[in-house]
Symmetry: D3
Subunit: 236 residues, 6 copies
């Protein structure tokens, strides 16, 4: 049995149900999923500024996961907010959506494009790719130009995503696509069929990789992500 | 149900049983494993020259997998021989040991070291890391200086691996270790415990990632790995 | 006249006075300095986890700076917590200590080493260097192995810093040194004299560069750091 | 006197005569050329899959070269099949077409484009450029979209190559062109004249560099390319 | 008081007055500026060949600065001619225009474009960016296609610069602009206003950074830029 | 027939005779060599400052080569002084020693070390490697710590070079060695024999590659190295 806590780092329960549906479809039979959004923080995360409002409540939810006997934690946002910090603090596997999506993409092609929501977040995504060392493998980041909160209009999302995905393939030479937002749900299959190349849903990638880490009984390196110093006082 | 064919690209059945044991331990309940070594080729693969003797029989075994109704193929060697070619030819997921091990390592730390058999193979491993774009993340490649065919002496292997792993951690700043040969079996857990950092068995990484790709119903990009031209005559 | 607000992103006023002294020494005659630490957050910042406790109060202090008619903001910590977010939110120059120190170091040599407090923070520093694109220019990060809160023991700090600095120069080939913590005050001159190479105090670098940006009437690019979306609700 | 064996790694003698003509034109007076195609293997090499069919017969021809008292070996294909393996096995210089072409291109400009046959082979070429460390110097790989076996239509080849070469120069900023297939013969001079930049024929580059290595009495490093382990049994 | 000598490395006094005006506007109150062009050398510097004519007289002027009791030297040309050599010879800070402009640009955005005079100089600029390690941060180098000696036609310059700047922002994704010639004076403010992103005048960047280095009493590293060997005889 | 002018960019004829001997040994039968040192300039080139004294007389000798009906020019110094400028000005092939040595080294191994004279020149060599894009392939630069003018003591040179070469191979993992000074003559063969890896004499590499370019009737790209603007007045 693998118990995974999914922290949705936004102050809204808007996405919980769709995430649950996707996760029920793709999880292993013996995986148990707990989904928890934030009580406070940003309602949507597009850029650095939004992350800062959500990171402390996110890390608190992540910390609780250990007491709640979870075996792993997924922080359900493509910007990977608080992921490095949670890897430091926790002794169970912590997986972010971008790192998982890119790790899977490596196996499927040479250059991926990221289909994101608005141009506003492109810089933050670039920063993260550079930090992870994946920037050179990114053919382009292309925005559908829809706010995170509009993404539930699946019809429009699919149309826009298809349009920019074609540009990513033809102009930027992408051979794999990554949906660059955890809330772009339900469109990966149809885009993949239309365009003939793999399309990765980052939430699903994080789910499968978190299950893998639990099954092989490993965890992030404490040499890479050392436990925080207990002598330091922290308040809020 | 997920049927995975494991092609062991050497002309000996010496390793089949140990691989089967490890795979039975780590596979999902609904995964069925078929293990097949080569009839001809090299008996062990240490460097480019050896690969060339094994690659054609390997690709033939891989091609047969599709007719045999397998859902995925693992080519069980850390040098990833014939992996790119099999990705071109097949329409089911093909996973190599090095690419899988490194993809998992990305989630666990910043810099991995590879513990390999002999110095003879280091250059070939470097070539592959550069080709995949992972060279910058590799802290070092350290050899236990044992021939592939000696690796069944688990006691000696463990002792030597522990020794060079310490150097990798202390001198080269590795925060994750990857066992750089599919035949270094049964030592990852004890090394990880002794040294306090994650140790990845590449065969297990390939197993879990191959299962993931099958479950999320995706496959290598045919834009990245196009089907070979049928007009070309090929004989041997 | 140039009014600069220095946000010290820790929940202690311990460092304010020493920072004030250094800033009074190095500031332009017409610069006015306001120093403000946090009411809550982490008492010291060594790694990602600590940053998360301090970032929201830091950004709030930074935001207030504009209403208080400051011309620029310095976030006084070598990890540059909340710096990217503040660049997004504010329309006056925001400068972080690491980015400033490295920008100056570029003019003085080819490869710098960072002298930091404890090994615990090295990974976070590496992440930031990669994100900024300066990782290749970093010869090494060497720790004096003293907690941030011990750093007021100048004698010991100087001795330890001298010791690791020599290693950075001789083994790692550094030709410039950067003190990797805003609280390593009062030792740069003596180390520079002993070892014969430039030693950069990051706080001073940030001060001079912030003054420069104000004088040439420029500010961070809003294309790079777009203003946050006002439609998103954020609470804490 | 310099005796060079040219192994044409395809199972057809179709190209031997044109290669001989070019080599007679460009070789030093005291160079003796032996040209040998394969008895079995792929008839044409466009991608990884094709290479695998040709590599073992290629290495066997290369190995025979030493017994036949040759002083050097050229493997006449831009994908450099079996080149690394032959460097391991042989104690006389082995030169591949791509590595030779790029080595010469370095002296003539900053960024080269490769004019290749079909899009199908671009990924394999990219892999090789990355492995060699030349990827950053490659402005683009542009395909004339003709099968290898059509290339004997010189008129069409020249027209198509001229068209894509212009795009490489104007859009991709190439300042040197490399013909990316050993069978693109007889067009380099006219393209160079039309477009005013150097055009490298890889077969000629390999010839001149192989002669150079023989004359300066050097050979590939056995530290980089160690002799294969004689204890390993290899069959086919 | 800070005495700075500005060496204008061209054999014409044509630019001295405009440089003086800009420098009087942006210098600190206590900075004293001395401007000196060359008696012989190239009248304008567009590429490597031109630099060679100007470098020896430039270094001689730079050397004199120390005897004349200057505290710092600016070599006023975007190609940074003789800058590395002057850093070796002098014991006071030496600052070049390109290195200064890029160091400031780092603080303002992620990717800069350089607006230069003619295409002829682009290769030399690329060489310098690679040498400094800034090439990856350069989105593009776009030429207004005006000779250096035409640049005093401010109206035309502004129009042309605005045109190519737009392309740099929209097509190449620049978020900061750098004027790539010390003689592109008086247009940065209006371009910045029109396009809404920062525009750096390299001469001003060099002025502010040279003042900074003098104020913090540091100088280029003698480990990076060792004093020339006095035993070597040099004549001209 | 191939007429090559060798410009020795130092104001001494000290090296001409030894260069002549080496070149007579390695040149093609139909190659005619002209050797010419400078009348003024630096007597030895160790770093940037020295180059500046020699570059203008060097370019003048290079320019004369065309009138003197030479077919190619070698600038005989490992720092490649004036090489880029000569490539701009001339319409016959110009080859520098470092670029030639590295181009050959690419064919022989994966990582080269440079054995140089004194530590003083290491930074300049690094700058050049970065500019050419070869920095990543350089395992180390190790100095024998002898002045250029002492290098005629072959016994001592050989002993010192052997010592540092061993360190380069064992500690830095070099698999090819490059002698980093045109005046390190007569020791490559014995070092190569002792250490069992290839050792490249850069002067010989430049000779062979210059002959190659002449024979294949190509020349540096005028797109990469445009002819200088004739409207610019240049004096000295």
């Amino acid at each position: 049995m693998k118990k995974i806590k999914v922290v949705v780092p936004v102050a809204t329960s808007l996405w919980n149900e769709s995430i649950r549906q996707v996760y029920e479809t793709y999880k292993d039979r013996d995986t148990i999923i707990g989904i928890k959004n934030l009580d406070s923080g940003a309602e949507a995360i597009e850029q650095e500024y939004d992350e800062i409002w959500s990171e402390l409540p996110t890390i608190k939810e992540a910390e609780k996961a250990q007491e709640e006997n979870y075996d792993g934690v997924i922080i359900y946002c493509f910007n990977d907010p608080a992921v490095r910090a949670a890897k430091e603090k926790l002794n169970i596997p912590v997986v972010g959506l971008m790192e998982a999506a890119v790790s899977l993409a490596m196996l499927l092609g040479r250059k991926f494009s990221i289909i994101t929501t608005t141009k506003r977040g492109i810089g933050t995504t670039e920063d993260l790719l550079k930090m992870y060392g994946f920037y050179e493998k990114c053919a382009s980041i292309r925005a559908v130009e829809m706010d995170v909160l509009e993404l539930s209009d699946i019809g429009k999302l699919e149309e826009m995503a298809l349009k920019v995905s074609k540009i990513a393939i033809e102009n930027d030479n992408a051979d794999v696509l990554i949906l660059g937002c955890g809330s772009m749900l339900g469109i990966s299959e149809s885009i993949s069929k239309s365009l003939g190349i793999p399309v990765i849903e980052p939430g699903v990638a994080a789910l499968k990789l978190c299950e893998d880490l639990i099954e092989i009984k490993t965890c992030q390196s404490k040499k890479a992500f050392p436990s925080p110093d207990e002598k330091i006082v922290r308040t809020n």
